[in-house]
């Protein structure tokens, strides 16, 4: 519970470390995860195979279907597994294992089996990685009954939610942002249960609902506009599916205005569900239309000015807020 400074990659590493120590049945699986392979391209699993043995922290071939299949099978055999799919776009290669199997086995077996696995994956625009390495695809999985979706916005949440995800009895997709891995922040070492949004800033005029990378610019805009007397509440969903409807609805009921911001493409994104829900439940109580900001409707581009323009900016957030309170 002590507060120190840590970045997300360290937090994720520590979470797996603490979870491995707490549960001898926990396994880690993925490309390059062992120390022979330097604990992954970003070092997320560095030290774990040395500390807990390479039978528990296992590097795999580039075989995403087999990685998730092995995780599912091992979990059916009584283990818990954190399986890494290096980048979120590669979930597409293992999509069958994730949605047709991991997410469905509990239901299809009538509750006889369950799949307590965590699929860690990283993504995000900002590193010129282009169209096949940068997508936020959480909406696919949120639309899939049986799997939970989590995306932390800071190191403490990364730690707490990853531990919460590991302890959760259901499969969880855990989304990390690559470009901000190394940003340090004050740190608290505390397990967080899934399903609770976090009101990271209180306010009375507008609610911004966000998660992952878009929480920081939302807070910055809130801070800035506070000076002008615009009071913004910022809610970090943390768990995207199942999302914390109660907290979000209560906040928007209070402020009467809502903006949802995510890095994923806006159209048919997570924001659509939140907006549809708020409009339905707060009909007649809203002072302005629920607005959404998201990535541009295109693959993530390579060239810097395009990549920057793809992601919702602080300017856009600010402008949208001003429009809402006008």
């Amino acid at each position: 519970m002590t507060t120190e400074t840590m970045n997300t990659i360290q937090a994720v590493n520590l979470a797996m470390h603490d979870a491995l120590a707490a549960d001898p049945k926990l396994l880690i699986l993925g490309e390059d995860v062992g120390d022979l392979e330097e604990g992954g391209v970003a070092g997320a699993t560095k030290g774990l195979s040395t500390a807990f043995g390479d039978h528990r922290v296992k590097s795999t071939p580039i075989s995403e279907q087999a990685i998730i299949g092995a995780a599912i099978g091992a979990s059916l055999g009584g283990y818990r597994v954190v399986a890494e799919i290096m980048l979120m776009n590669f979930t597409a290669v293992a999509m069958d294992m994730i949605v047709n199997h991991a997410a469905k086995l509990r239901f299809m077996s009538g509750g006889q089996t369950n799949v307590p696995i965590v699929i860690r994956t990283m993504t995000g625009a900002g590193m010129s990685n282009g169209g096949q390495h940068s997508d936020y695809l959480e909406a696919w999985f949120a639309h899939t009954p049986g799997i939970k979706v989590v995306a932390p916005s800071n190191p403490s949440d990364a730690y707490g939610l990853l531990r919460g995800a590991i302890e959760d009895p259901d499969p969880v997709l855990f989304i990390e942002n690559l470009p901000t891995y190394w940003n340090p922040a004050p740190f608290t070492r505390e397990v967080l249960p899934l399903g609770k949004a976090n009101v990271v800033r209180e306010g009375s005029d507008v609610t911004i609902i966000s998660y992952a990378t878009m929480v920081a610019p939302s807070l910055a805009v809130a801070e800035q506009l506070a000076g002008e007397g615009i009071s913004i509440e910022v809610v970090d969903l943390r768990t995207i599916a199942p999302w914390d409807r109660e907290t979000v609805r209560a906040s928007v009921e209070k402020t009467g205005r809502a903006l949802i911001v995510h890095e994923a493409v806006k159209e048919f994104g997570v924001g659509a569900e939140v907006a549809a829900d708020l409009n339905e439940h707060l009909f007649g109580k809203l002072k302005a239309p629920v607005r959404r900001l998201g990535g541009a409707f295109c693959p993530v581009p390579y060239s810097k000015p395009l990549e920057t323009a793809f992601v919702p900016s602080s300017d856009e957030i600010e402008r949208t807020i001003r429009g809402l309170v006008a």
Binding site: T60, Y79, H101, M108, S109, G110
Partner: protein, 327 residues
């Protein structure tokens, strides 16, 4: 194939018993469907009984199984009880999966039937994971992945065999080559004459056997299972066979040449095994008849109970999605 271990008399009788259970159960399902009692997409394993019967006599309750939509033979051989099976086929709340899974997703962990899948190829990665768990457990357990000839051309096959071989996992990959994948022939989907040849690409043992021959199938399976238990890694068994009821009930199998079909029927492995058990003096015809009668009675009891049981209530849609019930 002469240097394969051979089943002794008691084992052969056990193989017969399992094959009889599978055959009579299959006939009963088809009869229930034809009578309009049961409406379900049913992928009959008729003709493929010997494969799981001869394999599973070397398995125990701790061993795990993944199979496919065409899988009631694998399940029954492994010990899936008739009651929960029939109730599940009938979509009842008393079914093994409360009626939620159905024909293509029959599951019964107590007998080791962990996953039944409708997605071609997907039994293999999961069985690989079950093999990994068994290896970690260190108790000599094995995992069996059943799949068809068509499934040998999908990516999951490749990834699973490589991983299982690389990690020397106790997995038996059982390719039940019935020469057809839906309406497509083996030759029109597969660029190699014997699927077992693919094993060499993973430094794995691979063997092709007549899956309809109890001795061959028993022997190949026994060697593979013993090797797996001993920590010597996986084996790919290609078991040649034939399916007598087309892809699924309703398929007239017009794409199968008449002579090919007739020839396969003439070599129906179930009556052949029966004749052989009697001829070898392992059991008398009367004893065999008694076994069959007992099996049929068990099946009838399961059918009766199934159709008398309740259908699930729609509230079940909110259960088993997650560990907690949905609001």
């Amino acid at each position: 194939m002469s240097n394969l271990p051979k089943p002794d008399a008691a084992t052969l009788l056990e193989i017969y018993r399992k094959a009889s259970l599978i055959r009579h159960n299959d006939l009963r399902v088809v009869r229930a469907m034809k009578a309009g009692l049961l409406m379900t997409p049913y992928y009959s394993p008729q003709g493929q009984e010997i494969i799981p019967a001869a394999l599973s006599v070397s398995l125990n309750d701790n061993d795990k199984l993944c199979t496919i939509y065409r899988g009631t033979h694998d399940m029954l051989a492994k010990g899936f009880p008739l009651g929960p099976l029939w109730a599940e086929l009938a979509g009842r709340i008393t079914g093994s999966c409360k009626g939620k899974g159905g024909t293509m997703h029959l599951t019964h962990p107590e007998s080791g039937c962990m996953v039944t899948t409708g997605v071609v190829g997907s039994s293999m990665p999961i069985a690989t994971g079950l093999g990994w768990a068994a290896k970690l457990d260190g108790k000599g357990g094995v995992a069996v992945a059943n799949f068809g000839d068509g499934a040998a051309n999908i990516g999951a096959f490749h990834e699973s065999l490589n991983l299982a071989a690389l990690w020397k996992l106790p997995v038996i990959f059982v390719c039940q080559n019935n020469l057809y994948a839906e309406h497509t022939t083996y030759a029109n989907s597969t660029a190699v004459d014997r699927l077992s040849k693919r094993a060499a690409g993973y430094g794995m043992d691979g063997v092709t056997v007549n899956g309809n021959d109890a001795d061959e199938m028993y022997g190949a399976a026994k060697i593979a299972i013993d090797r797996a238990r001993a920590g010597e890694g996986p084996t790919l068994i290609e078991a040649l066979t034939f399916r007598f009821n087309g892809h699924l009930i309703g398929d007239a199998a017009g794409y199968i040449p008449k002579e090919e079909f007739a020839q396969a029927k003439a070599n129906d492995p179930f009556p052949m095994l029966r004749a052989r058990v009697i001829a070898d003096g392992i059991a008398t015809e009367a004893e065999i008849d008694a076994i069959d009668a007992d099996i049929k009675a068990q099946i009838e009891a399961a059918v009766d109970a199934a159709f008398k049981a309740d259908l699930p209530d729609p509230v079940e849609l909110k259960r088993d999605v997650f560990a907690h019930e949905l609001a």
